[in-house]
């Protein structure tokens, strides 16, 4: 069966520090992968998506970047975190034409 793993579950980082969040999918190949962020009052905002290795589409210009070094690995990064980067980050994979399954999320607090 297919599963999605996301870590860490919680993270507290100082302003200006780097960030790396990892997401991996098991049991499928060449999935479409997505990074969303839930910030206060903003709902679920799409940040990046990828339809294959090395292919990244950015939806919102910001302080973050994404990479897909392997077929089932999707990484969200930042070189220098801002206070406004705080939020709940969710990775998802698309398992059908319209169905997404989400990971358990990472709560990032920038202090």
């Amino acid at each position: 069966s297919q599963t999605i793993h996301q870590w860490p579950a919680t993270l507290v980082q100082p302003v200006g520090s780097p960030l790396s969040l990892e997401c991996t999918v098991e049991g499928t190949s060449n999935p479409n992968l997505y990074w969303y962020r839930q910030a206060a009052g903003r709902g679920l905002q799409l940040l990046f998506y990828s339809v294959g290795i090395g292919q990244i589409s950015s939806e919102v210009p910001q302080n973050l970047s994404a990479s897909r070094p392997q077929d089932r690995q999707f990484i969200l990064s930042s070189k220098k975190l801002l206070l406004s980067d705080s939020g709940f980050y969710l990775c998802a994979w698309q398992h059908s034409n319209y169905g997404y399954t989400f990971g358990s999320g990472t709560r990032l607090t920038v202090v």
Partner: protein, 111 residues
Amino acid sequence: DQQVKQNSPSLSVQEGRISILNCDYTNSMFDYFLWYKKYPAEGPTFLISISSIKDKNEDGRFTVFLNKSAKHLSLHIVPSQPGDSAVYFCAAKGRNTPLVFGKGTRLSVIA
């Protein structure tokens, strides 16, 4: 520009009564609509969906209604149970485009 709108940030309903959550969209290219349920510190989980060729889809206590001419959909939960208390996200998708989410509605079912 918000393509999917959930104008009620919160809703309180008594146990056993009907909960009605509303969602409006602006993009006429959307052809599939989904509702996700989210508990704190967890990823959203799929609840129910509807294709644009239908106007109703029912699954147990959950029914989704779609009014294409009004670009409006609603989720009915009946009877509401305390375990239904969560944030509900409306989402919409066109072919080959990512899921777009609303800001969510926090449902509280009071015993």
